[in-house]
């Protein structure tokens, strides 16, 4: 089968201006730090970023914001990165805030072929603005629609050459759902092993979801 292991340079040819990119990680734990650095270095611009948060200044996907490469971010929390708030206030960055659990379900729905999910979270709040509601058995729900991306960039603790991914401890977070919901899936591996060398019971993302594997430069 196709060899999925490529260099960072090769994979950067696929990441181009205007792309919608899902970035795995939670406050940069489980984030593809090498790929993020390469995007900053290449200066890929007009990006739409989908990510749990925008990290803290100087770390992970906050660098994309700081370099003004992002035109829109769909996220649950920006409080840890004042630069995101600043650009939002200035009007140069469109920030769409979504409850964290709804964000996970919207991405999962896209990957799992669902037309949406009904959630009680956010009913009657600003998070309901512009969203359809439905009453089921006397309770009101928001219809949250599927959320897809052009590209998902992920980080795996151990990745085999077929693309099967094991995520250690809290590095999982949004990585597994994002792997299912993008046209192109790139994983940055801390460690690469031979196909089949991860216990099949410990594989969290099946290799069929992964298009490219790069070796991480980062040990953080």
């Amino acid at each position: 089968m196709k060899n999925k292991i490529v260099t960072l340079d090769e994979v950067m040819e696929k990441i181009t201006d205007g792309a919608t990119i899902m970035v795995g990680g939670f406050l940069s734990v489980g984030s593809p730090l090498s790929i993020i650095d390469a995007i900053v270095e290449k200066g890929v611009k007009d990006l739409t970023i989908i990510s749990n948060d925008t990290s803290i200044p100087g770390v992970g996907n906050s660098k994309l914001i700081a370099a003004k490469l992002v035109k829109k971010v769909i996220t649950s929390h920006i409080g840890t990165n004042p630069e995101t708030g600043k650009q939002m206030m200035e009007g140069s960055l469109d920030v769409q805030l979504v409850p964290q659990g709804s964000l996970a379900e919207m991405i999962r729905a896209a990957g799992a072929g669902l037309g949406g999910v009904l959630t009680p979270t956010g009913v009657g709040t600003e998070a309901a603005e512009g969203k359809q509601t439905i009453v089921i058995g006397n309770r009101k729900y928001l219809i949250e629609l599927p959320l897809r991306a052009d590209i998902a960039i992920l980080r795996g603790t151990i990745v085999d050459t077929f693309g099967n991914i094991f995520y250690n401890k809290t590095t999982q977070n949004f990585n597994p759902v994002m792997a299912t919901a993008a046209d192109l899936v790139i994983v940055e591996a801390e460690k690469i092993v031979k196909e089949g060398d991860i216990d099949p019971n410990k594989v969290k993302t099946p290799g069929i979801f992964v298009d490219y594997i790069i070796r991480s430069n980062s040990n953080e």
């Binding site: 939670f26 406050l27 734990v29 489980g30 749990n52 948060d53 803290i56 996220t75 649950s76 929390h77 920006i78 409080g79 840890t80 004042p82 708030g85 939002m88 920030v95 805030l97 409850p99 964290q100 659990g101 709804s102 964000l103 996970a104 379900e105 991405i107 999962r108 959630t119 009680p120 979270t121 956010g122 009913v123 009657g124 709040t125 600003e126 998070a127 603790t157 995520y167 250690n168 401890k169 809290t170 590095t171 999982q172 977070n173 949004f174 990585n175 597994p176 759902v177 969290k204 953080e220």
Partner: protein
């Protein structure tokens, strides 16, 4: 942390029962874990994907792959486990968290909660707060009674609502208040205050419990 905050954390610790699955918000709520009685063992949920959170490790034992939802390095108890965000919020939304201890900007007499946004100021985003406030079986609010003297417990929220009709218990340095269909029930007051003072610092009317108790959790 101020003495007031420690008082609040200590009082909330008494609300937790052995085996409870508990989510502690960032800041003041996190303190609660430090003051549990010896015979109470709780399972701490962190929304980034842990059940069984334990204290911060020694620097030499820090694991880069193991943080809580505040981004702080933690350790885990025996029997802990890890999962992804969709499962983590399934646990929250599905009612499998017994108690969520959350901070608040405002709470009103109907149990409505405002915790995620002050218009015109920095907008942090709701993170997991809306899911927790909507999904946890019991919401305990941990908050200073006032914001520099102006009441936070109101007739009606003036800030954007985070979740509607969800707060069950409010614990401040001055009082323990239950949200009931009849209104706010004042169940306990701190040893160093009076019913009159608590009411004067609270916009919403308080129903004084016939069984009113005093609490003193100072060290």
């Amino acid at each position: 942390m101020s003495n007031e905050k420690i008082t609040i954390a200590k009082r909330i610790a008494k609300e937790l029962k052995d085996g409870d699955v508990v989510n502690l918000g960032i800041g003041l709520p996190t303190l609660v874990a430090n003051y549990l009685p010896d015979d109470v063992d709780i399972v701490i949920h962190s929304e980034n994907g842990i059940l069984g959170v334990d204290a911060a490790p020694d620097k030499s034992l820090v694991d880069k792959d193991l943080v809580n939802a505040g981004g702080s390095h933690v350790s885990t108890k025996h029997g802990a486990c890890f999962f992804d965000s969709s499962i983590s919020f399934g646990i929250i939304r599905g009612g499998h968290v017994d108690v969520a201890v959350l901070g608040a900007l405002q709470v009103d007499k109907n149990g409505n909660l405002a915790s995620h946004k002050v218009p015109g100021k920095m907008i942090p985003g709701m993170g997991g707060a809306m899911d927790l406030a909507t999904g946890a079986k019991r919401i305990i609010i941990a908050t200073l009674h006032t914001n520099n003297g102006s009441p936070k417990i109101l007739n009606e929220l003036t800030l954007p609502v985070t979740a509607i009709n969800v707060v069950k218990t409010i614990v401040t340095e001055k009082a323990v208040i239950e949200v009931t269909p009849e209104g706010l029930l004042l169940k306990e007051i701190a040893a160093d205050t009076t019913v009159e003072e608590v009411q004067s610092l609270t916009e919403a009317p308080l129903i004084v419990s016939p069984d009113l108790k005093s609490f003193d959790v100072a060290a």
